[in-house]
C-alpha cells in the first residue's frame, strides 16, 4: 500500500478537484485511492479521513458552510496532537496551587491622587474662568437685542411694502393704453409695399477722364 503523504494528497486535491465539496472528496477517494493510503472518510459531513493507523485528518475547511467559495482543501491533523509534540509542552505534575502570599501587596501610598491634584493646581482658577465664560455666553444668547433690531427694521419694512402695494393698486394704466392706441395710425402709415427704386448693383460707373490738351505745333 502506498504510504500516506499529506502534502501529496493536498496537492492532488488542489490540482484535480477545484470544486471543494464532500462529493468531490468522495470522487477523489474513488478515482485516486492511492493518495488516501487505505483510509476511510467519516465525520459529520464526511470531510475527515481516518487512516488504518488511527490518525485522523480534516480535509475540508469549513465543510458545513453552504457557500462553496468559503470552503477549501486542507490536510491537517486536529485534536490534541501527539503525546510527544513538544510545541507547547505541559508542565509535569503534580500541580501545586499558586501561593497568594508570593504576590506583591499593593502600596498604601496613593499614586494617582497627587498626580491629578498637581495637574489641577497648574490650571489655576479654572472654575472661575469657566463660570465667567458661561455667563458671557448666557448674556450673548439673550434674544433682547435681536428683538429690538427686528422691530426697528423688519417691522418698518412691512409698512413700507404695504404703502407701495397700495400705490400700485391705485394706479390706472388707462391713459397709457389710450396713448398707445393713438399711435397706431402713425405706425400703420408705414405699412405697405416698398415703392422706392432699389439701388443698382454692380461696379460703379467709371468717371470720364478729360483728354489731355495737345500741344500746338507752329
Amino acid at each position: 500500500m502506498t504510504p500516506f503523504n499529506p502534502t501529496a494528497l493536498l496537492a492532488m486535491l488542489l490540482t484535480f478537484y477545484p470544486l471543494v465539496s464532500v462529493a468531490e472528496l468522495q470522487r477523489a477517494r474513488r478515482e485516486r485511492p492511492d493518495y488516501f493510503a487505505g483510509g476511510v472518510l467519516f465525520g459529520t459531513t464526511g470531510e475527515k479521513l481516518r487512516l488504518p493507523d488511527g490518525r485522523v485528518f480534516d480535509l475540508i475547511f469549513d465543510a458545513s458552510n453552504p457557500d462553496p467559495t468559503r470552503r477549501r482543501w486542507q490536510v491537517i491533523e486536529p485534536g490534541p496532537g501527539r503525546p510527544d509534540d513538544e510545541t507547547f509542552p505541559l508542565e509535569r505534575g503534580p500541580f501545586t496551587p499558586i501561593d497568594g502570599s508570593t504576590w506583591p501587596v499593593p502600596s498604601p501610598t496613593p499614586i494617582f491622587t497627587p498626580l491629578v491634584a498637581g495637574a489641577l493646581a497648574t490650571l489655576g482658577d479654572a472654575d472661575g474662568l469657566f463660570g465667567r465664560a458661561a455667563s458671557t455666553i448666557t448674556e450673548a444668547s439673550s434674544p433682547a437685542a435681536l428683538t429690538t433690531m427686528f422691530h426697528s427694521t423688519i417691522d418698518k419694512a412691512e409698512g413700507t411694502v404695504g404703502s407701495s402695494r397700495n400705490r400700485l393698486n391705485a394706479a390706472d394704466p388707462s391713459d397709457i393704453i389710450v396713448a398707445s392706441g393713438g399711435q397706431a395710425p402713425t405706425i400703420n402709415k408705414h405699412e405697405g409695399d416698398y415703392t422706392e427704386e432699389p439701388p443698382r448693383d454692380g461696379p460703379p460707373r467709371p468717371v470720364p477722364i478729360p483728354e489731355p490738351r495737345r500741344p500746338e505745333l507752329s
Partner: protein, 68 residues
C-alpha cells in the same frame, strides 16, 4: 523548492467498466522533490506520456502554491 521528478516502476493494470470490459491504464508512482509518493493512473493510450507530463506539471504548480 526542488521540483525534480523521480519516477518509480510503471505498471500496466486494468480497471473494469460497468460492462465488465477491461480498461487498461498505467500506474505511475513518482516523487516531486521531497514530496510524494504521487500515484497517477493514466489511461493507456498512444499519448499517455503527454497526459502524464501534463498532470505532473499541474501538480508542480500546486506544490509551489503551498506555504513552505
Amino acid at each position: 523548492m526542488d521540483l525534480t521528478v523521480v519516477y518509480g516502476v510503471i505498471r500496466d493494470e486494468y480497471d473494469f467498466d460497468r460492462d465488465g470490459t477491461p480498461v487498461p491504464h498505467k500506474l505511475v508512482p513518482f516523487f516531486i522533490g521531497k514530496h510524494g509518493p504521487f500515484t497517477e493512473r493514466i489511461p493507456t493510450t498512444p499519448d499517455w506520456g503527454q497526459e502524464l507530463a501534463r498532470r505532473v506539471a499541474a501538480l508542480k504548480v500546486s506544490l509551489q502554491s503551498l506555504p513552505t
